[in-house]
Symmetry: D2
Subunit: 140 residues, 4 copies
């Protein structure tokens, strides 16, 4: 698997009147983790876009254990278990000080942005994934 | 089951640079549908809150078929299939002109907001659900 | 002047842990009002976009008097006082039950989306504005 | 004056279909800068809250020069020019690689959260401001 980790500060903007982070905002945290993973493997999303590949979300899921709160610096862990096919599934775990706050996943399809049709991932993208997925390394 | 329907206008604010609604925003649409369902069965969420019952989300899921776009007036269908226990699960379907754009669900627990502990739903809330869930009626 | 009015429901998503609507969300309410004004004068924003005219915001301002709250059905009033030149300024007032909650404005420039250069507004757009701005009518 | 600086990564979530950051999101960037300033002077917002002082926004303004874009690491500068009275005004400047993208301000009142009435700022808060505002130092 490939596992990356990023810190993120909870803003007032993210909270709701229950005094905790609004459930829909976790999907922005997932996005922050996802961007970060692509960066750290050396294939940032804008590079994909330049190759006319976009990654629309086709499924998203989150389970909430303990609410994230304003001003916490949370940790977003992103995990890739499987080599992508026409789809890629990324798992996420959100922590605050070793407590798991939430976890979930997103599934994306590779889409050619010119033809707006499903596509295979670029070869060099697959190469990078295959090279990294064997290890247990955490990129920080 | 109980099924309710509300219209919602897609704002520019909801879109992202892919030219479609950002995947995390659908959970706000789900919330709009959920609020609306509670209203239409005659038990708006603020009434629950006044009884010191809150409904934190413990699970959320969305599948995306066709992207919602700026300026569309989408239809949000909310469906309750089962009588709630200490949890309530609500399903959602998002349509634009008879095309299913996305569907998903949220699961909530009933929590006593004073003790911050799980709670059973209020009796009169269950009454209303039981009375309505037999029918196939769409509240509009 | 041209004055239009639309209702909008405050979601949980809009609130923050102060128990009121987050200050940045009012700019989405302004957008909802702005879209609505363009509709009601018969020149929806997507029509402008098809003519390769976009309206990026170059200034925005909001003053907050009384906080909007969850579940309120607020009224968004949008007002155009002046015939646009290369810019258009729209004013907004947000009410709940006759109480002014907030007011403000946005200023936009007309930009040709192909050349990404400032542009004059389309002639037929100006025509519509000139025809309507004389009256004091509220479109609802 | 007091001047602080923080970096912030632009997410896909922040963009709209114009391909740039949605105008309302800048107010979240301002908030990130504001939080950061309070931290760096040694008086984080949660400390104020514990003293039953909250800082509701009563005015907000932003001018947009060049749009922020997805994936940019922007710089948020927050500036306090004046010693607060019952109000505090903070100015902001958003940069990407030395280009000013936007600037603006927010004005907040000090409110006692128990009585929900305007309040003077806490004495030790004023002390800190007075001590720091003489210098031209940038906290990083």
């Amino acid at each position: 698997m490939i596992k990356t980790e990023i810190k993120y500060k909870v803003l007032y903007a993210h909270t709701d009147q229950m005094g905790v982070v609004y459930y829909g905002r976790y999907f922005e945290y997932f996005e922050a983790g996802r961007n970060d993973m692509l960066y750290k493997i050396g294939y940032p999303y804008p590079v994909l876009e330049k190759k006319n590949i976009i990654l629309p979300v086709i499924e998203s899921y989150c389970r909430y254990y303990t609410p994230a709160k304003y001003d916490q610096e949370i940790t977003i862990i992103s995990i890739l278990y499987d080599i992508p096919t026409v789809r890629i599934k990324i798992n996420y775990e959100i922590y605050f000080e070793n407590n798991l706050l939430a976890d979930g996943f997103t599934v994306h399809s590779f889409v050619n942005s010119e033809k707006m049709k499903p596509s295979r991932p670029p070869e060099d993208f697959l190469e990078i994934i295959k090279r990294n997925i064997k290890s247990d390394e955490i990129f920080i």
